[in-house]
């Protein structure tokens, strides 16, 4: 029976038969698993080598009780923490929950070690097989705890790096309204330039983050999938009723930038928690200046429209406020795989607005030729260059 014939037949039969056909391969799979598990036909491959072991340090907490680390096991068999070294000394520790650690699950290790403020420390787990898993704390500072004052202070930083620059950029709106076609194209291209910078920057950061996460999360794939999914989803939603323009396009840009700022907040918060970043005035101001173009970018599609006032507030909050939330989450519940995931989603969203803004330009201008016009090329390059230069203040 050829394939078309079979399809023809099955169309005539009741649905129950279709279900039966589906059951057959599933049953076979079940039998195969049961057989492999019980009869162990692969035992000849067992060279009695020790099991594969992997630990990933996901969080480190330093406080007055010493050091605590959250570790995720990724072994081929449940893993056992036999001993813990801190700075090449065996130190007493407690494990919560105790016992062997199944693949994919996490435990907290509490080590009452007198860590020293501002200095480096190294934690080394020794498993029952004698394998070791090292984790370095480059600069020991107390881990922030969620007190009200801390949350306020972080919110303030979030507002400065996220909301403030977007608001400043949007305040250019009245001034920019007067520009002609060339000026309009320049500003739109500037927006694409800054978005392109963010896309590359975010993708690289997401991949870097994913490298720090447990292997079983398949970090790079996670980032690519999250990016592709958010891109396609946003494209589909955006194109529901034709390509977005005007205020709608501004909102999509604000969403993409909001996701980016969320990721940026996560990174700042995590650096905060890890003690690896002292958030100096310089750094915070750097972020603020770096992000000013975001507001201009959001304003670009609505220059020829007359949106209501509330929409400016909404755009500002959508683009900037996620930085606050990101900071909170990043500093209090940081894990590399989540950062990678969110950065991936953000990258997808940025890609979507790049496509949409470019489409908008070609549609409002003289088709594809617009993209090669002097204002557009200059705008794009100025956008990228501005982002690159201001990023110098915030990259470490």
């Amino acid at each position: 029976m050829t394939a078309p014939e079979m399809m023809a037949v099955s169309e005539d039969r009741p649905n129950r038969l279709l279900l039966l056909w589906l059951l057959l391969p599933l049953t076979l799979l079940g039998i195969a698993i049961a057989w492999i598990a019980s009869a162990d036909p692969l035992r000849s491959f067992d060279n009695s080598a020790p099991p594969v072991e992997a630990f990933t340090y996901e969080r480190t907490i330093l406080d007055g009780d010493g050091i605590r680390v959250l570790v995720r096991a990724g072994g081929s068999e449940p893993m056992k923490v036999a001993q813990v070294q801190v700075d090449d000394a065996y130190w007493m520790f407690t494990q919560d929950p105790p016992g062997p650690i199944a693949r994919g699950s996490t435990v907290w290790l509490r080590i009452p070690y007198p860590w020293v403020l501002g200095e480096a420390h190294a934690i080394n787990i020794v498993t029952d097989t004698g394998a070791t898993f090292l984790h370095e704390i480059p600069v020991a500072v107390p881990t922030p705890v969620p007190t009200q004052s801390l949350l306020w202070q972080q919110a303030l930083i979030g507002l400065i790096v996220g909301v403030l620059p977007v608001a400043i950029g949007l305040l250019c709106y009245p001034a920019l309204r007067g520009v002609g076609v060339a000026g309009m194209n320049f500003i739109l291209a500037l927006t694409v330039g800054l978005l392109a910078f963010l896309l590359v920057d975010m993708s690289l950061e997401a991949l870097e983050m994913s490298a720090a996460s447990a292997v079983l999360f398949q970090g790079p794939l996670l980032v690519l999938l999250a990016g592709a999914a958010s891109f396609m989803l946003l494209m589909a939603i955006g194109r529901w009723r034709g390509a977005p323009a005007g205020l709608a396009l501004s909102f999509y840009i604000a969403l993409g930038i909001g996701l980016h700022n969320f990721g940026e907040g996560l990174a700042i918060g995590a650096a905060f928690a890890a003690g690896s970043a002292g958030l100096g005035t310089f750094l915070v101001l750097g972020f603020a200046v770096h992000n000013v173009t975001e507001g201009i970018g959001i304003a670009a599609p609505i220059l020829k429209a007359r949106p209501p006032l509330w929409s400016f507030v909404a755009l500002t909050l959508l683009a900037g406020a996620p930085a606050v939330v990101g900071l909170w989450i990043g500093s209090l519940a940081y894990a590399p795989q989540w950062s990678a995931l969110f950065l991936g989603i953000g990258a997808g969203a940025i890609a979507q607005v790049i496509v949409e803004v470019t489409t908008y330009m070609t549609r409002t201008g003289k088709g594809r030729n617009t993209l090669l016009s002097v204002p557009v090329i200059t705008g794009f390059l100025v956008g990228v260059a501005f982002m690159y230069v201001t990023a110098a203040a915030i990259k470490f």
Partner: protein, 377 residues
């Protein structure tokens, strides 16, 4: 010993110093104290089984090591050897008289592969002599004929290379007593010179066969009749004499284990088990003098050392003299295969716990630390 390579520490440190002042940093660093100020905020999420304050000096009941200690105990039953009896356990072989009237001492040693627990919960795939690490502590008397029947039940070629005086044919190197799995070889030579020696496998690569556990003590007691000028000293060294019986003799083999096979040791110890004598101090009767046969077999690190707390000792390098080669010291160094005899006494001390350890602090903190429990007798 491990060399940590700080990757981005420098840049991050400078960042910290440069920027800690402002914006949000203040929320974290209210003072320059070592983090205690975070205590009152309480982390909430975690159960707190023990209220240990890491910044407080350990109290007496916590022991001299405080929190700096391996967690748990090694079960001597599963290992088949116990570090405490091992201190005084000599393999004397069997003695017969040869036709010329000389004593013939015969030892039987078997090599085998064995998984041993070298620290609580940490298993190590060792190669052993007689199923233990270190191997049996062989002891003979100067001038005896020695016969060591060696059988290799291991999975690799092995040998016994004795530090002593013998023919090249008995040297335990390839072509002279290095045997394949399933084979047998008999090493035969005279027991000389007297002293504190060792034997080890000399299969290649040597590093691997050493650190996998193939070594042991080899002590030759001086024959008092051959040393009339120091007869009393020689008698005190000769096992079985009344003079010797007053001494408390201990065998200590300083060794280490590279459990992750990266060419650096994770665990250091005396007689294999990290922290064994810290958790179970060695009982010493105050009035009886102490003699330690100390041997270093540590691989990868160039030297090891022995430091005695609150006391000084006389040292006989390689044990081949009857007068000390170093007097009144509290620390000696040994490179690999170097060894010697330590003699000291607690007769004038207050009873109590006295520490001893390597004075490479790193070795100490990775397991090479112990206590003497000096008691009134």
């Amino acid at each position: 010993m491990r060399q940590n390579e700080p990757t981005d520490t420098v840049t991050r440190r400078s960042l910290l110093i440069g920027g800690l002042v402002a914006a949000g940093g203040t929320a974290v660093l209210a003072s320059s104290a070592a983090g205690q100020q975070m205590l009152e905020h309480g982390m909430g999420a975690m159960p707190a089984p023990d209220p240990v304050n890491p910044y407080a000096a350990p109290s007496a009941h916590e022991g001299a090591h405080g929190q700096m200690m391996t967690v748990g105990r090694v079960d001597p039953e599963t290992n088949g050897f116990d570090p405490t009896p091992m201190l005084t356990e000599w393999d004397l072989g069997t003695v017969t008289t040869m036709e010329d009237g000389r004593a013939l001492r015969t030892f039987e040693v078997e090599a085998s592969d064995k998984e041993i627990e070298i620290a609580p919960g940490v298993m190590f795939p060792a190669w052993t002599f007689n199923g233990r690490v270190p191997g049996p502590a062989l002891r003979a008397k100067e001038g005896e004929r020695l016969r060591i029947v060696f059988r290799n039940y291991g999975s690799h070629p092995h040998s016994m290379h004795f530090h002593g005086i013998h023919s090249w044919r008995m040297d335990g190197v390839p072509g002279a007593g290095l045997i394949n799995p399933g084979e047998e070889f008999v090493y035969e030579f005279d027991a000389k010179p007297f002293g504190c020696h060792l034997y080890h496998c000399h299969a290649l690569p040597l590093k691997r066969h050493m650190h996998k556990g193939m070594y042991g003590a080899f002590v030759i007691d001086p024959d008092p009749e051959l040393h009339p000028e120091f007869e009393a000293v020689a008698k005190s060294r000769l096992l079985g004499t009344p003079e010797n019986a007053s001494w408390q003799e201990l065998i200590m083999v300083m060794n280490a284990f590279d459990t992750n096979f990266d060419g650096a040791n994770e665990f250091y110890a005396v007689n294999t088990i990290a922290h064994a004598y810290a958790l179970q101090p060695i009982r010493i009767e105050k009035s009886r003098p102490v003699r330690i046969y100390l041997i270093n077999v540590t691989e990868f690190d160039p030297i090891n050392s022995f430091h005695l707390h609150a006391n000084f000792f006389n040292y006989f390098d390689t044990g081949t003299t009857l007068t000390p080669t170093l007097r009144t010291v509290d620390l000696i160094m040994q490179c690999q295969a170097q060894r010697g005899i330590l003699e000291f006494s607690y007769a004038d001390h207050e009873a109590g716990q006295y520490m001893f350890h390597a004075h490479q602090a790193e070795f100490t903190e990775l397991g090479w630390m112990g206590m003497f429990d000096v008691v009134e007798d």
